[in-house]
């Protein structure tokens, strides 16, 4: 019997941690890795050594994620780091983004693949400008689940009153931001209270521990039924004349961005608009009959339809809009500001189109959360803008469909990725 038959598998959850410097983000991540015993014995002994060298008695958990701090000292670009742990029933990927204001782009990057965000608050400081900024960015990137972790409870005598006060403050502002699923938890990352173990200092709190919240959080990005979206990545034509079965094989390869598909479903190929039905759903050349969101598969259609990378296969009854103009929230990522005179390349699913800015509606001040007039976009700016496209794109609004609502902006001369967009 395989070891995998013995344990349940609750899939994989991607989350990000946000907090201001010194709120305890590294300590929290270290605590999660440590208390879930993910730290391999050899890593552990290396950490113990460093702690001793620095004159610390106990293991400093934040050293586990110290890569970032070393960089900060050396002034290298500070970037999103990815960390991993597993409870045996669920695998976790943490996107750890530095919290400074100038790192808006890092947080957007980290949030783009996450389904849950932990927002850290220092219990002594309460809701700060940064807390609002992080929450707003999380909602902008469409993170459906938020955990507000009120940390350093040991420094406020584990006071329930303090906790309730911060919670009320947060809720007041959250109503304006529009995040649906918000949970609160009191923590001491340093002492490990309410992270994996409950500890005995927070007995007035009767909710689940942080890890228990993570264990049951929905792993799928959305609970809603989404329409079928299948951008074609690659076309497989073995053209093996010796093998009659493969002679006419024409497989459309891609990953299902949303929805599900099964043999017999009526589909339309975009942009041609040609219709057909699904003859076979395959993985590795083997029929699997049906498939759903996030699976990488190969589709075979009943009719011969000329299809190539950049096309999209959808269910005939639920086709997306084909547009040559888009309005989107854009975060500018590059050091060189957006140049209104230039043509950029927009990459949306597997499709590229040249694009030109036609207007900037307004810019978001990430600290006051106010919309301000703007006529340019510099690094870390977030703005609502419009583009004119050379090729039609098949889009859904980002908040309804992440896969077909997101795009990146590429500078064709440097080939750099300079912007991230979410279609409105």
């Amino acid at each position: 019997m395989s070891t995998q038959d013995k344990i349940e598998d609750h899939g994989l959850l991607r989350f990000l941690t946000c907090g201001s410097v010194d709120d305890g983000k590294s300590t929290l991540i270290g605590r999660l890795l440590f208390d879930t015993k993910t730290i391999l014995a050899d890593t552990l002994s290396a950490i113990t050594r460093t702690s001793e060298k620095r004159g610390m008695g106990a293991v400093d958990l934040s050293l586990l994620t110290d890569g970032l701090q070393a960089e900060r000292e050396q002034g290298i670009t500070i970037d999103v780091a990815y960390r991993y742990f597993s409870t045996g029933t669920r695998k976790y990927i943490i996107a750890d983004a530095p919290g400074h204001e100038q790192y808006t782009r890092n947080m957007i990057t980290a949030a783009s693949t996450a389904n849950l965000a932990i927002i850290l608050i220092d219990a002594r400081k309460g809701v700060l400008t940064q807390t609002r900024r992080h929450s707003k960015l999380a909602s902008l990137v469409g993170i459906p689940h938020l955990i507000v972790a009120i940390n350093k409870m040991d420094l406020v005598d584990y006071s329930q009153e303090t906790y309730e006060k911060i919670k009320a403050d947060y809720l007041e502002f959250a109503a304006k931001v529009g995040i649906e699923d918000i949970r609160f938890i009191p923590l001491s990352a340093l002492n490990g209270d309410m992270i994996v173990d409950r500890g005995d200092a927070l007995n007035w709190y009767d909710g689940p521990t942080l890890l228990d919240m993570l264990e049951v959080a929905p792993a799928a990005h959305t609970e809603h039924d989404e329409p079928f979206r299948f951008p074609v990545q690659y076309v497989c034509r073995p053209q093996d004349s010796a093998n009659p079965e493969l002679h006419d094989y024409r497989g459309f390869m891609g990953r299902i961005e949303s929805g599900s598909i099964k043999v017999g479903d009526a589909v339309t190929v975009l942009p041609s608009g040609r219709e057909s039905t699904v003859k076979s759903v395959q993985l590795g050349g083997v029929d699997i009959g049906a498939a759903f969101t996030e699976q990488s598969i190969t589709l075979l259609l009943a009719d011969e339809i000329d299809t190539s990378r950049g096309d999209m296969i959808v269910k005939t009854a639920e086709a997306p809009a084909a547009v040559k103009e888009i309005r989107a929230t854009v975060c500018w990522l590059a050091e060189t500001p957006l140049d209104r005179a230039r043509t950029y390349l927009i990459r949306h699913t597997t499709r590229d189109s040249k694009a030109k800015l036609t207007g900037i509606d307004h810019r978001l001040d990430v600290n006051t959360l106010e919309n301000l007039p703007a006529d340019k976009l510099a690094m870390n700016d977030i703005a609502e803008v419009s583009f004119k496209l050379a090729q039609p794109l098949f889009v859904d609004p980002y908040l309804e469909n992440r896969g077909t609502g997101a795009f990146i902006i590429i500078d064709e001369s440097s080939n750099n990725t300079v912007g991230a967009g979410m279609i409105l």
Binding site: T3, D9, G88, S112, Q233, P238, S296, T417
Partner: protein, 309 residues
């Protein structure tokens, strides 16, 4: 509302890796997959099968041979490529040494780091614009920030300041002539995931991944294999004067250049045992208890010995 389907963690990782490989195939004109015969690249070949069969792989396989590889692994490499019917390119560090582009400081110097010279020469020789590699972010701290599509300049250099932001699963593999993309489909896998995948897929591995007895010496606390036979029958990693050779039951967790891969002591002689052994050092107490209480006790003791609280 219907009950949502969610993928198991291995299915999710596999689907992501397939997607990445297909992006390389779709975006790059002349990619290559680096295949060493090691466990990570063995997983990658299975992923490539799932991504591209019944077609052929849209890239050849390539191994940069240091000339100091375990013969079991080299033999396995050739066998696997032949079974798959895919083209295998081998370029060797020894050829670079003959050309004079690789100069060892002394004869015994590890050739591991010199592989990059040979790799760059091969990239130039074949005009590859992308190399698909099996690196994982959990391997070491420094890798935690590596992109899935990592950009290298004309000298093959990785400039941390010049990496492209990577959002959603929208990858940017564009490059100018001479530049190169390294793509890592299993970036998000841990060692545990790799072993679980090998177990689930029933993948065959070179024998030295499993517990076996071999002569070793203990050098500065590490287990160092000695008198290792090469393909040509020559012995390498000779013991130093005064070192005591012992026969130890060991297995390898990675199988790189002989001069710098140390095995671990283990009696795990099949994949299931390796998964359990890996689990006891990686899974939570809760997970581990469910797997096997006794092994978890044993490893806890080991952790304590090594400085656990």
């Amino acid at each position: 509302m219907t009950q949502r389907n969610t993928l198991t963690h291995l299915d999710w990782l596999e689907a992501e890796a397939i997607h990445i490989m297909r992006e390389v195939a779709g975006q790059c004109s002349n990619p290559v997959l680096l295949f060493s015969g090691g466990k990570d690249s063995i997983c990658m070949l299975r992923i490539a099968e799932k991504a591209f069969r019944p077609g052929k792989f849209p890239f050849p396989l390539m191994h940069i041979d240091t000339g100091h590889n375990y013969k079991e692994v080299v033999a396995f490499r050739d066998k696997r490529a032949a079974e798959l019917g895919e083209r295998l390119i081998v370029r060797s560090v020894e050829d670079s040494m003959q050309r004079g582009t690789v100069v060892l400081k002394h004869e015994g110097e590890s050739r591991n780091k010199h592989q990059s010279v040979t790799l760059l020469e091969a990239i130039e020789e074949f005009g590859f614009d992308a190399c698909i590699g099996g690196a994982r972010r959990d391997e070491e701290k420094a890798r935690a920030k590596e992109r899935i599509f990592s950009f290298r300049d004309e000298f093959g250099q990785w400039d941390p300041k010049n990496q492209r932001p990577e959002l959603w699963s929208l990858y940017n593999a564009r490059s100018h002539k001479g530049e190169n993309i390294r793509a890592f489909p299993i970036s998000n896998w841990t060692e545990m995931d790799v072993w679980q995948y090998i177990e689930r897929e029933g993948l065959e591995l070179p024998s030295i991944y499993f517990a076996h007895t071999r002569p070793v010496v203990i050098r500065q606390g590490s287990i160092v294999p000695v008198n290792v036979p090469l393909m040509n029958g020559e012995l390498t990693n000779l013991p130093k004067a005064g070192e005591e050779i012992v026969d130890l039951q060991v297995r390898f967790r990675t199988v790189g250049d002989i001069s710098c891969t140390a095995p671990v002591e283990s009696d795990a002689d099949n994949v299931e045992k390796i998964v359990l052994e890996t689990a006891t050092t990686t899974i939570t107490e809760r997970g581990a208890t469910r797997l096997d209480d006794q092994t978890s006790e044993a490893s806890m003791e080991q952790r304590k010995k090594e400085g656990y609280f």
